[in-house]
C-alpha cells in the first residue's frame, strides 16, 4: 500500500499565503515526520519541531537534509511536557495538534 499526504502541497501553499517564515524562530507542535518542518526551515532561522510519536520523529531525523541540520531540532515530546523558555519563539505552528 502506498499513501501520500498532500502531494500537491496544499498545506504548505496555505502557510505561505499567510506567512513569510524568513528569519523567524518557529516552534512546531505535532511535526510528525517533518513534512512541513523541512520547507518551513528552508526560510526560517530555526525550527524546534516536536511530536509525541517517536517513530515519526525518527523518520523525520533520518530524512533531515544536511544543509538544514543546524536549523531544525527534532524532539520526541508532548505539548504538555516539553520545556520551552518563555517568549523564545516568534511563531508557534500547531499542525492538527491542539
Amino acid at each position: 500500500m502506498t499513501r501520500e499526504l498532500d502531494p500537491e502541497g496544499a498545506h504548505l501553499a496555505a502557510l505561505h499565503r499567510l506567512i513569510d517564515f524568513g528569519g523567524l524562530r518557529v516552534l512546531e507542535l505535532g511535526c510528525g515526520d517533518g513534512r512541513l518542518t523541512v520547507p518551513v526551515a528552508a526560510d526560517a532561522d530555526y525550527v524546534l519541531a516536536f511530536d509525541p510519536d517517536a517513530d515519526s520523529v525518527e523518520r523525520a531525523r533520518a530524512a533531515l537534509p544536511s544543509d538544514l541540520a543546524d536549523r531544525i531540532d527534532y524532539r520526541v515530546a508532548s505539548g504538555r511536557a516539553i520545556e520551552i523558555d518563555r517568549g523564545a519563539f516568534d511563531l508557534a505552528l500547531f499542525s492538527w495538534s491542539l
Binding site: 500500500m1 498545506h11 506567512i19 507542535l29 523564545a88 511563531l91 508557534a92 505552528l93 495538534s97 491542539l98
Partner: protein, 131 residues
C-alpha cells in the same frame, strides 16, 4: 486548554500562532475525479471544535487577535481504494458500511479530499504603562 497556554507562553509578545485544523464538511473519497462516498469525520471534528473553542476563548480574553483565515482542500492519495479502506480500519473516522465492500473491490488509485482551515493569530502585546 493547557497545551495552548503553554505553547502561547513560548511565543514573544506580538508574535504569531498558526493553527491548522480539519473542518466540515466530511472528507470525500474520490477516484478519477468522481466522488465515491463520504467519511464520517465527526470524531476528528470534535477535537478540532475543542481546539477552535480554546483559541476563540483566547481571542475573547484579549490574548490573541485573528489576522487571517485560509480554508483549503487537502488530498491524500492512495494506491488503491482497498488500501484506503485498510487505512481507516484503525482510524477514529468511519467509512460508511455500505461503501466498504465496494471500495475493497476497487483496484484504481483513489484520493481522500478533506477541508482544512489555517488561522493566523497574533499575540496581543502586554499593555505598557503610559508615561
Amino acid at each position: 486548554m493547557h497545551v495552548l497556554r503553554h505553547m502561547v507562553d513560548a511565543v514573544r509578545p506580538g508574535g504569531l500562532v498558526l493553527d491548522l485544523q480539519v473542518i466540515r464538511p466530511n472528507p470525500v473519497i474520490e477516484t478519477g475525479g468522481v466522488a465515491l462516498c463520504e467519511i464520517d469525520g465527526e470524531p476528528l471534528f470534535r477535537n478540532a471544535d475543542a481546539a477552535t473553542a480554546a483559541i476563540d476563548a483566547c481571542i475573547r480574553g484579549g490574548q490573541l487577535r485573528e489576522e487571517a483565515v485560509d480554508d483549503h482542500d487537502v488530498p491524500k492519495h492512495y494506491s488503491s481504494a482497498a488500501a484506503d479502506v485498510d487505512r481507516y480500519a484503525d482510524d477514529d473516522r468511519r467509512l460508511p458500511d455500505e461503501a466498504v465492500e465496494r471500495l475493497r473491490a476497487m483496484t484504481a488509485p483513489c484520493a481522500v479530499r478533506e477541508r482544512c482551515r489555517l488561522r493566523k493569530l497574533r499575540l496581543v502585546p502586554f499593555l505598557t504603562q503610559a508615561t
